[in-house]
């Protein structure tokens, strides 16, 4: 399966994502932000970094890159789109995911491992997980505080669009376990269909025991997985195909 990693000027986790995808058995190719097509990729990853220096607002300039029109078409057709860290910020700016990412509560850049709880197992990134799974993943961001109006948050929860929450190692949603002050501990969300997923933690940094853990592997491998049996999925996501737009 062919996965494209989009390279914006200022992306700096693009090489890490390409490596991680290849380690997990994918054919991974870089996609330049100026290109208008996705070169036959079955899934797209928007990597972390500082696209356009995070100037103006994180992701606010990158969303105008020519490749984003193709990404949107791909998403509309049900293709898998994953945004990690800065990629998540770009997806919210582009309107492909709800909500926004604000400056961390502590106003500082934070780089450390956190525990997240898998909230649903029908998104493109969690098909290999079970709800309630706890994963140790690194975060590295200054603008990762997820925010959306309360009614939007209610709707996201009702429709199963909250994919990950920051939690303590036992899975509890204690205030200490929320590193950046995100609304309702949200670390990652999906669109309604589940094919577009954004998250602040870096699964590509957690696929190797040498780097401190392999919990990210199941997320990346989920891109490969055929959808699970019907019981794990809501009706709307039943046929989310991982084909090209």
């Amino acid at each position: 399966m062919r996965v494209g990693v989009i390279v914006f000027p200022g992306s700096n986790c693009d090489q890490d994502c390409l490596w991680a995808l290849r380690e997990c058995g994918f054919e991974a190719v870089p996609l330049w932000h100026q290109q208008a097509a996705l070169d036959g990729c079955d899934a797209v990853v928007l990597p972390g970094g500082f696209s356009y220096g995070d100037y103006l607002r994180c992701g606010a300039i990158a969303r105008f890159s020519p490749v984003m029109a193709a990404v949107k078409r791909h998403a509309d057709g049900g293709g898998a789109v994953v945004g990690i860290c800065n990629g998540f910020q770009i997806l919210t700016e582009a309107g492909l995911l709800p909500g926004t990412l604000l400056r961390n509560e502590g106003l500082r850049f934070l780089c450390r491992p956190v525990t997240v709880r898998v909230e649903q197992a029908h998104s493109a990134l969690t098909r290999r997980c079970r709800p309630g799974d706890r994963l140790s993943l690194p975060i590295a961001h200054a603008e990762g505080r997820y925010w959306a109006p309360p009614e939007v948050l209610d709707r996201l929860e009702a429709q199963g669009q909250v994919v990950f929450r920051y939690c303590a190692s036992d899975g509890a949603l204690s205030p200490d376990a929320n590193p950046n002050g995100s609304s309702r501990h949200i670390a990652g969300v999906s669109n309604r269909l589940g094919n577009v997923v954004g998250l602040m933690p870096h699964p590509e940094r957690a696929i190797d025991r040498r780097l401190g853990g392999e919990d990210g592997r199941c997320l990346i491998e989920s891109l490969l997985a055929t959808p699970l049996a019907d019981d794990a999925r809501p009706k709307t996501a039943a046929a989310a195909p991982l084909s090209r737009a």
Binding site: P9, G10, N12, C13, Q15, D16, W19, A20, G48, G49, F50, Y52, G53, D54, Y55, R108, F109, L110, C111, R112, P138, A140, A142, H202, E204, R205, D208, R210, L211, G212
Partner: protein, 652 residues
């Protein structure tokens, strides 16, 4: 001091245009121009002495014009010319079978086998960080990262060595916070992990903090890029940000001590743009990889001037530059402003005309400005024109090799014997040792620095196999089996009490730190932070430290491959402690040999390698608990040091 005693051959015109230059070359000016004394404000404006002015007149055979004097001012500044330190630095061992590039280039390069090499350099950004902590530290990171990718190496790790005043003073807290945010703001954005560092808190850094940053990069052994302006007829190409008025005379500023009220120097500090640097990094590595460049140099201290002059000096060529073609951010900039601007994220490349189109295409793809601003000549002259007129014509040699070298007077401080004595009756044995332990553990010099390195992205690159917090950081290379270990070390109190031994111990400690993670030490880079070289005591400390570092490097088999000297670290006449910082790089042939520092499981035995003696002098314990900084340093026996380290590596 060596004064070139060459008498003036001719008394000529200052160069104003091609006509006066031509008059000079035919000697006609001698009839007309009367030689007058040095211009007013020589010391204040140009920071040159009258002797140095005479050297300039001798070298040129005429009086320099104002622009040319500005050029000499920066090129002969301590920062660029190393005029006080060079006679001492030549004692460093700089060669070895693994050394592919020693000092003199933008960074040193060490062979690590299998066709791979590591580029390494540490640099200070002390003065700017004091004036404006965030931008000072940020541009310090930017500068050292450019030094590494200029060599054709992809930067893979940063380490910072910080020295600030006590943190109960809000001014020092603000400063440290700004520096940490600056390192984070720049390093995180360009995607180079900051994997380690050290922090020392001491009163003497309150008005003169030290910010040293080390960068390491990886390249293919046969593809070391050099900063050469070779091949007359080749084009001089300016790549990167436009030139503004920021940082003019920054190098000269860094070559003088601070006085109260120097906050006014804030406009001398440059402003960094890490996004531009990230694009430059990718573009330059692509240009080097495709072999489109003859030479590449970053425009750091003294900007366009020192970068172009040094490139010509290394190649033994000349340059002709047209200032009208330099991309400018502001209108109305004068030639000396364009020449001396330290605007960040700018590179100077030398390109064969046939490759220009390809170079342009790469820069366009990365959305970077590019301008051809001149060409390489065979004349050995550095010629500048502006608005169609020749405005400066200086021999490259006069600016570089013929810069003055000083053997400054040295004197051992008179207080030293008193400091080295430690009557043990002065040191009462504390009653509550638990309290002593807790007091020491919470001292910011010894306590965990996690609050700092958690603000640094130390994981980007998916290569950091031993993150910050240990003695050394370990980064694996190209996701393969090999890894490099890095450490920065220096104990200023040791260097005060015994500069020779303090310098040597910094090297020994670095090697020890690498050994502890299972790495074989390969080479060092050094950043020498001292007070004014015009003070004989400071100069004595400097020379002794350099001797100590040199001797330790020789005995432990570690060549010095690059480095930096930062003098004039004093404010209102109060110098800092002698503060050399030694960066050490080591190799792990297999990342599986990595040993992590923490205790693993209950019941494991704890071994102590080496010898424990009755040594108390210069310890943290004396300083924190007894408020004393005195005594003799622990002994350093190189043979035993080597044996312990080898035994440790063998055990691992």
């Amino acid at each position: 001091m060596t004064l070139g005693p060459k008498p003036p051959r001719r008394r000529l015109f200052p160069v104003r245009d091609r006509f006066t230059h031509w008059l000079n070359t035919i000697g006609f000016g001698g009839f007309v121009a009367k030689r007058r004394g040095p211009p007013a404000g020589l010391k204040e404006r140009y920071r040159l002495t009258e002797d140095e002015y005479r050297l300039i007149v001798n070298a040129l055979g005429r009086r320099p014009n104002d622009l040319e004097l500005n050029i000499f001012s920066v090129m002969w500044s301590e920062h660029c010319s190393y005029k006080s330190s060079k006679v001492h630095l030549k004692n460093f061992p700089t060669t070895g079978e693994r050394v592919l590039q020693g000092p003199g280039e933008n960074a040193g390069v060490v062979d690590i086998g299998d066709g791979m090499a590591v580029a390494l350099k540490i640099e200070s950004h002390n003065h700017p960080s004091y004036i404006e902590p965030y931008q000072g530290a940020a541009t310090g990171v930017g500068g050292i990262v450019r030094d590494i990718f200029t060599m054709g190496a992809r930067p893979v790790a940063l380490l910072d060595s910080l020295r600030v005043g006590p943190l109960d003073d809000p001014a020092n807290r603000r400063l440290l916070d700004g520096v940490v945010r600056g390192v984070a703001g720049y390093g995180n954005c360009i995607g180079v992990p900051t994997v380690g560092g050290e922090l020392v808190i001491h009163e003497l850094y309150a008005n003169n903090p030290l910010v040293n940053v080390l960068c390491a990069g990886v390249l293919r052994a046969g593809r070391v890029m050099r900063a050469l302006a070779a091949g007359p007829g080749n084009l001089v190409v300016y790549i990167g940000s436009k030139t503004g008025r920021d940082g003019i005379h920054g190098a000269t500023m860094a070559s003088a001590q601070f006085e109260s009220g120097d906050e006014d120097k804030r406009p001398n500090v440059q402003v960094g743009d890490p996004f531009m640097e990230k694009k430059l990094l990718e573009a330059c590595l692509e240009l080097i990889d495709r072999q489109l460049l003859v030479g590449l140099q970053d425009m750091g201290a003294a900007g366009l001037t020192s970068s172009s002059v040094e490139m010509a000096a290394r190649a033994g060529t000349g340059l002709r530059l047209d200032l009208d073609r330099v991309p400018l951010r502001e209108t109305g900039m004068q030639p000396h402003e364009i020449c001396l601007s330290e605007s960040q994220e700018r590179m100077l490349a030398v390109v064969a005309p046939a490759h220009l189109a390809d170079v342009e295409a790469v820069c366009r793809r990365w959305e970077i400005d590019l301008a051809v601003i001149g060409e390489v000549t065979a004349t050995g002259q550095w010629e500048l024109s502006a608005r169609g007129r020749l405005v400066a014509a200086l021999p490259v040699r006069a600016l570089t090799e013929e810069a003055p070298r000083y053997e400054r007077p040295m004197r051992a401080p008179v207080y030293l014997p008193a400091l080295q004595s430690l009557p043990l009756e002065m040191i009462p044995v504390p009653g509550d040792l638990t309290k002593v332990l807790l007091t020491m553990m919470e001292h910011p010099s010894l306590a965990s620095t996690a609050w700092i390195w958690r603000q640094y992205d130390h994981m980007v690159g998916t290569a950091t196999v031993l993150p910050p917090g240990g003695d050394a950081a370990v980064v694996r290379l190209e996701h393969g089996g090999k890894a490099i270990a890095l450490s920065v070390d220096g104990n200023p109190r040791y260097c005060l009490l015994n500069p020779y031994l303090g310098g040597a111990m910094a090297v020994a400690e670095g090697a020890r730190n690498l050994t502890c993670v299972g790495a074989t030490p390969l080479a060092v880079t050094d950043c020498l932070n001292f007070g004014s070289p015009e003070q004989p005591e400071t100069m004595w400390q400097f020379a002794a430290c350099v001797d100590g570092i040199g001797e330790a490097c020789r005995r432990l088999g570690l060549p010095v491959v690059s480095g930096n000297v930062s003098f004039y670290n004093e404010t209102n006449g109060q110098p800092i402690y002698p503060s050399p910082v030694v960066g050490t790089v080591g190799l792990l042939e297999s990342v599986d040999r990595l040993v992590t520092p923490w205790f693993k499981s209950p019941g494991d035995l704890v071994l102590l390698l080496g010898q424990n003696r009755d040594e108390l002098g210069g310890t943290e314990y004396l300083r924190i608990i007894h408020h004393q900084e005195r005594g003799l340093l622990p002994e350093l026996d190189f043979d035993r040091e080597l044996a312990v380290q080898q035994a440790c590596r063998a055990l691992i």
